[in-house]
């Protein structure tokens, strides 16, 4: 199975946080901006793909034990979110493309 760093390299995502962190396996992605849906439904090997960039996104990734957060549309995390990601060792990636295009790319790469 592909890990987060391999996925980032293959899809051309850049890092907001966690380039040096140990990469966990990624099996798929969960695309959603409603965090209560994410925490209830994302699998623990799903990358979270979202435009939400507040600290709660990082908290949800920690609680649901997600391997990484991918912010789409070039959205930048706010400073509090970034701080929380650093404290909790959460890998946060950036995609310049919209969520749908990002998900297609991830799907293609993961399918090999």
């Amino acid at each position: 199975m592909m890990n987060v760093h391999e996925l980032a390299a293959a899809c051309g995502f850049t890092y907001f946080n966690g380039k040096e962190l140990e990469a966990r396996p990624v099996e798929g992605a969960y695309c959603c901006d409603l965090l209560s849906w994410v925490i209830g439904r994302a699998g623990d090997q799903d990358a979270l793909v979202t435009v939400m960039s507040n600290p709660n996104v990082i908290a949800v990734a920690v609680m649901a034990d997600l391997p990484c957060v991918i912010l789409t549309e070039g959205v930048r995390p706010d400073e509090k979110a970034l701080e929380k990601a650093r404290e909790n060792d959460v890998i946060v990636l950036s995609s310049s493309e919209p969520t749908y295009a990002t998900a297609l790319k991830i799907g293609k790469v993961l399918a090999g």
Binding site: N54, A59, M63, A64
Partner: protein
């Protein structure tokens, strides 16, 4: 193992920082060597409960009892109480304000998510007095 009891005050003033208690419990369970599956279920259920306390009740108290057989989370607040518990247990029903929805919450998934990830959920509530959730998650 002797049961461990942890107590937290959940600060209701800063929604963006909600989850401190859940985060601390998650770390403790990891140190104690519980399975990743149990830790994940506890973290999700407790975080949703914490978020609810911050949204609706301006915070509250969390008590977590950890034993060999599992984790019991008691979340007590002095908020307005839940008018219709059956309705609040339905996915999609929410009374959360707009500013909370703008942050990605308030989709009416809190209590349903807690139920989904726990083995037992007890909701005791009285209008104008407060709500206590008792969440049991077994190993």
């Amino acid at each position: 193992m002797e049961p461990i009891i942890l107590k937290y005050q959940v600060d209701g003033s800063d929604f963006s920082m909600a989850g401190e208690a859940s985060s601390s419990v998650k770390k403790t369970l990891k140190q104690l060597g519980f399975s990743p599956d149990l830790i994940r279920r506890v973290a999700i259920a407790m975080y949703e409960g914490e978020i609810n306390m911050v949204i609706h009740a301006d915070g509250g108290e969390a008590t977590v009892e950890i034993s060999q057989s599992g984790v019991r989370i008691i979340l007590a607040d002095h908020g307005p109480g839940i008018k219709d518990v059956a309705l609040a247990m339905q996915e999609g029903y929410s009374t959360a304000p707009d500013e909370v929805r703008n942050l990605g919450f308030g989709a009416g998934m809190g209590l349903p998510n807690i139920k989904k990830y726990s083995d037992d959920l007890k909701v005791e509530t009285e209008l104008g007095v407060g709500t206590t959730l008792t969440i049991q998650i077994n190993t």
